[in-house]
């Protein structure tokens, strides 16, 4: 039995490892290519390692502090994404609790409606949304980046589904002991939702970090833009055929979100092993 398990684990390692190697090929290519000269990319055919390493693409992007204040963008993105993440986690856990563990009339119908409506394609939306931003005087401010997204439903749906899979007995037992709704929320349910709330935090952060249509609409001020919107400026309409700088920009842009993912992964693997044994 043990031996069989060991063999099986080795096979899984091998298989997941092979797939991982295939999986990362485009990323590895992009990473190495960001260190190639434009001449090499365009004329030397396909290859991974640069024949001649150059940091020119990175220097061009990071050094162009007048046209592209990248450090500034980085800071702006941080402020926006961290705020969005904190607010989203609070709002989402509260709301998801309401839609999963409280009983009120038309609860599910109301929720499905919100969900369904929020799935409508939102192409025309930028016209009224921008209008509202001017009414609220939020144009060119971080508020425009932070608040509208909090109306989204998908993360609430996600947490709601996790919350639904926690047996009712937990709250009922606590309520018999005299705990109020908030006590149940904070002391019983919230701790059990930690793993999925980590996921929500990850999604909120990367979602906000990678958003790029809306920020270019609400920001006119290059100084106030978040990173992805700023980097988009570098993929110019006319100069857009230069691959090196674009790939360098992409590598810079994913760096913080990837670090965050590694932290989130560590944290959620930990909190999962703590919370396992809930569902039955």
């Amino acid at each position: 039995m043990r031996r069989r398990e060991r063999v099986m684990k080795a096979m899984v390692s091998l298989w997941t490892g092979i797939v991982a190697i295939i999986w990362i090929v485009p990323v590895v290519w992009a990473f190495f290519t960001s260190f190639k000269t434009e001449t090499e990319i365009k004329t030397k055919g396909f290859g991974f390692l640069p024949k001649e390493w150059t940091f020119e693409n990175y220097i061009n992007i990071l050094g162009n502090t007048d046209n592209a204040p990248i450090i500034r963008w980085f800071g702006n993105s941080m402020v926006i994404s961290v705020t969005v993440t904190v607010l989203a986690v609070i709002l989402v856990s509260l709301t998801a609790y309401g839609y999963s563990r409280l009983d009120f009339k038309y609860r599910d119908t109301l929720f499905y409606m919100l969900m369904g409506i929020s799935l409508f394609p939102n192409i025309i939306n930028i016209i009224p949304l921008y209008q509202m931003m001017t009414w609220l005087k939020w144009v060119n401010t971080n508020m425009a980046m932070i608040v509208p997204g909090l109306g989204a439903v998908t993360n609430i749906f996600l947490v709601r589904q996790f919350s639904l899979s926690i047996p009712r007995e937990f709250d009922e037992a606590a309520k018999i002991d005299g705990a109020g709704e908030f006590a149940v929320f904070f002391r019983i349910i919230l701790p059990m939702l930690k793993p999925v709330l980590t996921v929500v935090a990850l999604f909120s952060f990367t979602g906000s970090w990678n958003d790029f249509l809306w920020p270019t609409i609400v920001f006119n001020d290059v100084e106030k833009m978040p990173l992805t919107a700023g980097l988009k400026l570098l993929n110019g309409a006319y100069g857009g055929f230069q691959l090196g700088p674009i790939l360098a920009a992409a590598c810079i842009a994913i760096f913080p979100t990837f670090v965050l993912y590694l932290f989130a992964q560590k944290y959620f693997l930990q909190s999962m092993s703590l919370s396992s044994g809930i569902k039955g």
Partner: protein, 445 residues
């Protein structure tokens, strides 16, 4: 069963409507309660901070200038803006750069809300007649009063006229993004010696080159890249225009049909790259003799070491007539009550500054609309100088600037590749594009 499902969907829709009504009437009251939750308290603090930012930005001591020079050309525009700001104007120019798609998306959003309308904007010539008809454009009369040298005589006459409506000027051109045919000098020598002696590549010459080149696996001319502009140029040689009049597209005209057929012949003979190839990359890699392209790609092409290239006129049937279609970036002022006369004065000074310093803009690869730099040695050494090197080149430049050009371009773009590579019948495809342009125009009548 079926009825039940519909019932539930119906109920849902009713709920949505109720929700909507609630949202519209009940917003103000509940917002106050909201402030008690921690997240809203935090949000409120941020609003205050943000409000300060707004007043700072809106103090109005700057001229907000929108453009889409996001590539290397952005550096050249920045030199111009910084240079102008260094002359201590009453208002500084604030250079706001964004992707062109975003700029055109932002225009209706700001115009609708009346807030955040820029003082000065770059738009492409193809949009100008439409913007004029929509009443978006301010007359440039006051600017020209303040800057008397900003006048037709100092610009290429053809590009200047694209901003004239009923005798009044609504746009001042910055440049011409001429689309010609780039050529690889080494490959021309090898496969097409002498073809460029008259600066014209005829279709017959192309057809002669194809067998020689394709025997070596070399592409003669990838007409799927900027082939549309080649087709426009060919049709124009036979007297065919894209529109019969302002409201009537002429896409399936005999002239345009013949032009596309001509390009398709080149494809069928094996002179074009295969479908879906990266044509400019092909040209950069030295695997194509010619490549239709815009002058603005100069810096990208110069970045390739060992690529020995030049640019010449678009393809032609014979050497009697030839045309080159062109984009053009133009300065316009979107209508805005808040733009003061003092600001318009500074805008005039800036346009004059740009006109005089045309050489800086030539460095971006474009052909400056102003003729101020035409005789400078540095400019003369640039490839795109070809298009101002002789009167017949300057007079060959045409613009696709009908009121509904955008519709025609989109409609043709949809079928163009499929026609060239034989997935769609030529006549059917052009008829479909014609119908689409007609339908779109009908939506605006």
């Amino acid at each position: 069963m079926m009825r039940k499902k519909i019932g539930k969907a119906g109920l849902s829709l009713c709920m949505a409507a109720m929700l909507a009504a609630g949202a519209l009437t009940g917003c103000g009251g509940s917002a106050e309660e909201e402030a008690q939750t921690p997240e809203n308290a935090a949000a409120e603090d941020m609003t205050e901070g943000a409000a300060e930012d707004v007043t700072e930005a809106a103090s109005g001591d700057e001229i907000e200038f929108w453009n889409f020079f996001t590539g290397p050309d952005g550096d050249n525009m920045k030199v111009l803006v910084d240079g102008f700001n260094a002359t201590n104007p009453a208002y500084r120019i604030k250079n706001v750069t964004m992707a062109s798609g975003d700029l055109y998306t932002k225009i209706p959003t700001v115009v609708n809300s009346g807030e955040g309308i820029p003082d000065l904007t770059i738009v492409d010539v193809a949009r100008i007649p439409m913007f004029y008809e929509q009443g978006l454009l301010e007359s440039m009369a006051s600017v020209m009063e303040n800057a008397p040298e900003v006048k037709k005589e100092n610009y290429n006459a053809l590009v200047w006229d694209t901003g004239t409506f009923d005798g009044e000027q609504y746009a001042v051109p910055l440049d011409m993004g001429v689309i010609g045919v780039a050529y690889n000098k080494d490959l021309v020598e090898q496969y097409a010696p002498g073809v460029l002696d008259d600066n014209l590549i005829t279709i017959d010459e192309i057809k002669e080159i194809i067998p020689k080149a394709s025997a070596d696996g070399i592409v003669t001319v990838p007409v799927s890249f900027f082939g549309y502009e080649q087709a426009l140029a060919l049709a124009k040689q036979e007297g065919g225009d894209l529109f019969k009049d302002e409201n009537t597209p002429n896409i399936n005209s005999p002239e345009f049909t013949k032009a596309v057929q001509t390009l398709k012949d080149i494809v069928d003979l094996g002179g074009c790259s295969e479908e879906g190839e990266e044509n400019l990359q092909l040209f950069m890699a030295g695997e194509a003799i010619f490549c239709p392209d815009g002058v603005w790609d100069a810096n990208a092409l110069n970045a390739i070491e060992g690529l020995n290239w030049g640019i010449t006129n678009s393809l032609c049937y014979n050497t009697d007539t030839f045309y080159n279609f062109s984009n053009s970036n133009q300065f316009v002022m979107l209508k805005n009550d808040k733009r003061s006369d003092e600001k318009e004065k500074v805008i005039a000074d800036f346009l004059e500054y740009v006109r005089v310093n045309a050489l800086e803009w030539a460095r971006s690869g474009q052909v400056p609309a102003s003729s101020a730099a035409d005789d400078e040695a540095e400019y003369a050494a640039m490839n795109q100088h070809f298009f101002v090197s002789a009167p017949e080149m300057e007079e060959s430049i045409r613009f696709n600037n009908y009121k509904y050009s955008g519709y025609a371009n989109d409609a043709i773009g949809k079928v163009f590749g499929d026609i060239l590579f034989g997935h769609t019948d030529l006549e059917e495809g052009l008829a479909q594009a014609q119908k689409q342009a007609e339908d779109n125009i009908a939506q605006n009548q």
